[in-house]
Chain length 192, copies 2
Amino acid sequence: MPASRPLRADARRNRDALLSAARQAFLDGDADTHVEDIARSAGVAVGTLYRHFETREALIEEVYRKEVDDLCSAPADLLDQHAPDEALRRFLLLLVDHAAVGKGMSLVLESIMATDSPVFGDARNRMAEALGHLLAAGNAAGTLRGDVTGSTLLRALGGICNLRATEGWRDEARQITGLLLDGLRHITPPRA
Amino acid sequence: MPASRPLRADARRNRDALLSAARQAFLDGDADTHVEDIARSAGVAVGTLYRHFETREALIEEVYRKEVDDLCSAPADLLDQHAPDEALRRFLLLLVDHAAVGKGMSLVLESIMATDSPVFGDARNRMAEALGHLLAAGNAAGTLRGDVTGSTLLRALGGICNLRATEGWRDEARQITGLLLDGLRHITPPRA
DNA sequence: CCATAAGCTGAGTCTGATTCCGTTTGTGTA
DNA sequence: TACACAAACGGAATCAGACTCAGCTTATGG
C-alpha cells in the first residue's frame, strides 16, 4: 500500500506546490484560508487539491506532520542529556516554541490535543506516547508522580495552544507549563 | 438602551421557547444542532430566531449565560465556608461538574476559555475575575502562589473541557485540576 | 509516435447560516 | 369595540464554503 506507484512528475509538482502554498498561508496567520485560495495560489484548481488530499483537514495535517514529528522525536534526546524532570520541562518549552511557529501550528496542536478528530489521531497518539516516555522516566527516577498518563498530560496542555493571538501569550504559556510541572513534581498523591 | 420597551407578549414567548429548545438540544448532546432545527422545535421560523439573536453563537451564549453566572457567583460562598485553597479546589470540581452538564456546556466553556471570540468576552472576564478572587485569597493566606492570575488559570483550564466524548473523561478532568492545584500550592517560584 | 492511464479543470452540488420583505398580529387609543 | 400601526413573524432566497464529477489534457512506457 505505501508506494503504489511513484506519482507522475506533474502530479508530484502540484502536490508540493499545494503543500507549500498551504504552509505559507497558515504561517502567514490565516488559519482558515479557503481551499479555493490555497489551490489558486498553488496554481491549480480545487479538483486537483482534492485529488491529493481527502479533505481540507487532511491537507492541514500533512502540512504539520513534519512539525509534529520533530516534536515527537525530541524526548529521546532530551532524556539522554538531562534528568527526566528537566527533560520534561524542556520538552514543554519546546512545545510552546512550536506553537509559536504560527497560528496554524497552534491550531493544529490544539486539534491534536483537544479534539477526537480521527484525522489527528495518529499525531495525538505519538504525542501522548512521547509525553508518556518522559513521565515514566521521571517516575522511575522518583522525581515525578506516577499517576498521570501521557494522554492526560496532553489534554492538560490543550489550553496553552489557545493562547495564540493573546497579548503576552508566550509568557503565559510558559507559566502554565511551569504550573503543570510543579504539579507533576508533587509526588504525594492527593488521595487514594 | 436596556429596557427599550418590554417585548410584546408573543415575542417574549417565542424567545423563551427558542432558548429552551436550544438548551434542550445542547444538553441532549448535539452541540451543533442546526438553527433550523432549533427554530422548528421551538415552533417558529428561522427568521424569528434571527430576530431575537444576532447569530447562532449569540443564542448559544445566551443559553449558557445563566450557567456561567452560577459558576461565577460560587467563589464568594466557597470562600465564606472554606480555606482559600480548599475553596479553589471545590470551585474547580464545580467547573468539571458544570462541564458535565452536557457536551454543549463544555463546548461553551471551551469557547469561553479558549478563544478570543468577543461573543464570550464578557463571560470570560467574569470567570477570570472569579478565579482571581480565589487565587488572591489563597495568596493572602499564604497557601497559594501569587504569580498566577485568574486569566492565566482560566487558560490553563481550557484543556479540561476538550475531554468531552472521551472515555472516562471525568476522572481525567479531575486529575488535571488536581495537577494544577498542586502546582498552585507550590509556593516557591521555580526561578526568578 | 501512440495508446492510455494518470491528472487536471471548474462548473455544479450540498449543507448550513443569514437576510429580506410581504404578511400577520398584539396593543394602545378613541 | 374598532382602528392604526409598529412589532413580530414566516420562509423563500441568498450567500458562503467545502466537496464532487464528467469530460478534457498530457505524461510516459513501449
